[in-house]
C-alpha cells in the first residue's frame, strides 16, 4: 500500500521533526500536525531565556508559520480525544474525525504531580508548556517567595531564573545531591552547591503535604519542618502521555512501546519523543529518553521508517542544562559499570568521564566544557580508546584524542 496521508498527534520537537524529515526525505503526500498550541515551539527556553524574558513566543518557534505553508504541512489547532483503528485515524475533542494511512504519536509528557496531600492543588505550579511558563512568569515579582520541589534539571533551572527575576527561592529535594545519575557525584555536588552560593535556600527534605494559608502556601516536610512561601512549583519529572495509545489497545509500559524504528505494536502507528519507550529486538525495555535530542532523533528515525528508507544512525544520548550562568552537558551513560576519571581545573572538577575496564568511554559530563563533550561524544561513538592520564590532564585538548 502506498502511503498518501500521515497524521501527527502532538506538535512538540518530536512531532515537528517527523514532519520536517518526511519532507526532506521526499514525501509528497498529505501531512497534518495536530496540537492545541499551534505552531510548534521549543521547550528548553521555557525555564531559561523565555522565562527570563530574553526570548518571546516568536523567538522560540521551531519554524515560522511560512514554513508550514511552504512545505504543505497542515497545522491543526486541536486536541485529539481518541484514536481510531479501523479505519486508522483520530477523533478530535470537538467530535471531528480524521483519517490517514499512518499515525504518529508525539504527545510528550505531563508534569508528574507530587504524590502528597495538597500536591494536586490547582495553585501548585508546574512547567511543561509555554502557557505554564506564562503563568509562572506572571507570579515572579521581586521578593515573591517561591518554593521549588525537585532540584533536578527543570527545578534547578527555574530556581536560577527566578532568582535572577528577584524572587526569594527555596529549593527542596529529598535527595542530598540531585543529578548524580546524569553527571556523576563530583560534578553533581559542584552544581548543587552553586544554588546556595547564588543565594538560594537549599533544603534537603521530603515534602509531606502542601496547604493554603490565605494568599500563601505552607509546605510540611516529613521530618516536621515547615516552610512558608507564596508560590510552589513542582518539578519532579514527567508522566508520558499514553492515554490515547492505551485507549487504542497499543502496548505500553511507562511509555508507548516501540521497536528500534519507532513502530508501536500497531503496524500503522509510530510513537516518538518523550512518550515513546524502546523495546529492543531481544525484548529488553530501554530507559525512556526524556531529553531534547532524543525527541529530535526519534522523530528523524520514524520519518525514515515510515517511508521505508534507511534510518539515520544516532550516537550516544546527549543533554544539556543551563543555570547560574553555567552550561552543563552529559553524553552517554555515567551510570554504567566503569571507573570515573576526573579532570580538574583549579582544584574543581570540570569534567568526569566514565571509562569501562576495556578502556572504552561509556559516558562523560562537563561544566562549561562544550568542546570536551563534543570530543567525548565522538570518542564514545567511534569506540576510540583514550589513555586515562590524557583524560585527566587539563592540558591535553580532548579534541586531539577524538581524531
Amino acid at each position: 500500500m502506498s502511503i498518501e496521508s500521515i497524521l501527527i498527534v502532538g506538535g512538540g520537537l518530536a512531532g515537528f521533526t517527523v514532519a520536517q524529515n518526511l519532507r526532506t526525505r521526499g514525501f509528497t503526500g498529505t501531512i497534518d500536525l495536530i496540537d492545541p498550541a499551534g505552531i510548534p515551539y521549543d521547550r528548553p527556553p521555557l525555564s531559561k531565556a523565555y522565562l527570563l524574558g530574553d526570548k518571546d513566543a516568536a523567538g522560540i518557534e521551531l519554524a515560522p508559520a511560512s514554513w508550514f505553508s511552504e512545505h504543505r504541512v497542515g497545522l491543526l489547532r486541536a486536541t485529539v480525544h481518541a484514536l481510531a483503528i479501523e479505519p486508522l485515524g483520530v477523533e478530535l475533542q470537538d467530535g471531528r474525525k480524521l483519517h490517514a494511512d499512518i499515525l504518529v504519536l508525539a504527545t510528550g509528557g505531563s508534569a508528574r504531580p507530587l504524590p502528597v496531600a495538597g500536591g494536586d492543588l490547582d495553585s501548585v505550579l508546574v512547567l511543561r508548556s509555554r502557557a505554564d511558563a506564562d503563568t509562572l512568569r506572571g507570579k515572579l515579582a521581586p521578593g515573591i517567595r517561591l518554593a521549588i520541589v525537585g532540584a533536578g534539571l527543570i527545578g534547578a533551572e527555574v530556581a536560577s531564573s527566578a532568582l535572577a527575576l528577584g524572587a526569594e527561592v527555596t529549593l527542596i529535594d529529598p535527595v542530598e545531591t540531585p543529578l548524580v545519575p546524569a553527571v556523576g557525584p563530583e560534578l553533581a555536588r559542584r552544581l548543587h552547591a552553586m544554588h546556595s552560593g547564588a543565594g538560594i535556600t537549599v533544603v534537603h527534605g521530603t515534602p509531606a503535604g502542601i496547604t493554603r494559608t490565605g494568599a500563601g502556601r505552607r509546605i510540611e516536610l516529613a521530618d516536621g519542618r515547615v516552610l512558608e512561601c507564596d508560590e510552589v512549583l513542582v518539578g519532579i519529572g514527567i508522566i508520558p502521555n499514553t492515554a490515547l495509545a492505551q485507549g487504542a489497545g497499543l502496548a505500553t509500559d511507562n511509555g508507548v512501546l516501540v521497536d528500534e524504528h519507532q513502530r508501536t505494536s500497531h503496524p500503522g502507528i509510530y510513537a516518538v519523543g518523550d512518550m515513546a519507550r524502546t523495546r529492543s529486538a531481544d525484548g529488553t525495555l530501554q530507559r525512556r529518553g526524556e531529553h531534547w535530542e532524543h525527541a529530535m532523533n526519534t522523530g528523524a528515525t520514524a520519518a525514515a521508517a515510515i517511508l521505508g528508507q534507511e534510518p539515520p544512525v544516532h550516537g550516544a544520548s546527549w543533554f544539556w542544562s543551563d543555570r547560574h550562568g553555567t552550561h552543563v552537558e552529559g553524553v552517554g551513560d555515567m551510570n554504567a559499570e566503569g571507573t570515573t576519571i576526573l579532570r580538574l581545573k583549579e582544584g574543581e572538577p570540570v569534567a568526569a568521564f566514565n571509562v569501562a575496564a576495556d578502556g572504552r568511554m561509556l559516558g562523560a559530563a562537563a561544566i562549561d566544557g562544550g568542546l570536551m563533550i563534543r570530543a567525548a561524544r565522538r570518542i564514545i561513538d567511534r569506540g576510540i580508546i583514550v589513555p586515562p592520564e590524557a583524560l585527566a590532564d587539563p592540558e591535553v585538548p580532548l579534541k586531539k584524542l577524538a581524531r
Binding site: 521533526t17 528548553p44 529530535m296 546527549w318 552550561h327 562544550g370 568542546l371 563534543r374
Partner: protein, 121 residues
C-alpha cells in the same frame, strides 16, 4: 531575518596562510575588523578558510569555540551545526543561518572582507 546589505569594509590582513591549523578557528574581535560584530575565522579540515559572524544565531555562544568537522561548525552550547561555506543552519535548535564573510588567501596572506558575503565580490 536580516536582509540589510551592509557595505563591505576594507579587507583585513589576518596573517600568513598557516595562521590556523585545519579544523581550528579564531575569534576576530570587532575592533580588529571594524565590523560591528565579532567574526569567527574557521579553517576547515580541507585547509580552506571561512568566516561567519561569531555569535551563534540561536543564543549566546561563540562559534569559533565550536567543533569543526569537514566544512561544518557545531555550536559549543546546543549543537546546532552550520555550513562554513554558506552559513546555512543544518539542524535545530537554531533556526536562522549564520552570516558569512568573504575570506581570500592571496600571496600567502589570509584576507578577511568583513561585511562582504562569501561568494560575493
Amino acid at each position: 531575518m536580516d536582509t540589510e546589505k551592509s557595505p563591505g569594509l576594507p579587507a583585513v590582513d589576518l596573517g600568513g596562510e598557516d595562521l590556523l591549523e585545519p579544523g581550528t578557528a579564531l575569534l576576530v574581535p570587532a575592533e580588529t575588523s571594524g565590523y560591528p560584530e565579532d567574526i569567527g575565522l574557521f579553517r576547515a579540515d580541507s585547509g580552506v578558510y571561512y568566516a561567519l559572524d561569531d555569535e551563534c544565531p540561536h543564543e549566546v555562544a561563540s562559534l569559533s569555540e565550536g567543533w569543526i568537522e569537514d566544512d561544518e561548525v557545531e555550536c559549543p552550547l546546543h549543537s546546532s551545526r552550520f555550513c562554513l561555506r554558506d552559513g546555512k543552519v543544518l539542524c535545530l535548535p537554531a533556526v536562522r543561518d549564520a552570516r558569512t564573510h568573504k575570506v581570500q588567501v592571496l600571496a600567502g596572506r589570509v584576507l578577511l572582507h568583513p561585511g562582504t558575503a562569501a561568494g560575493g565580490n
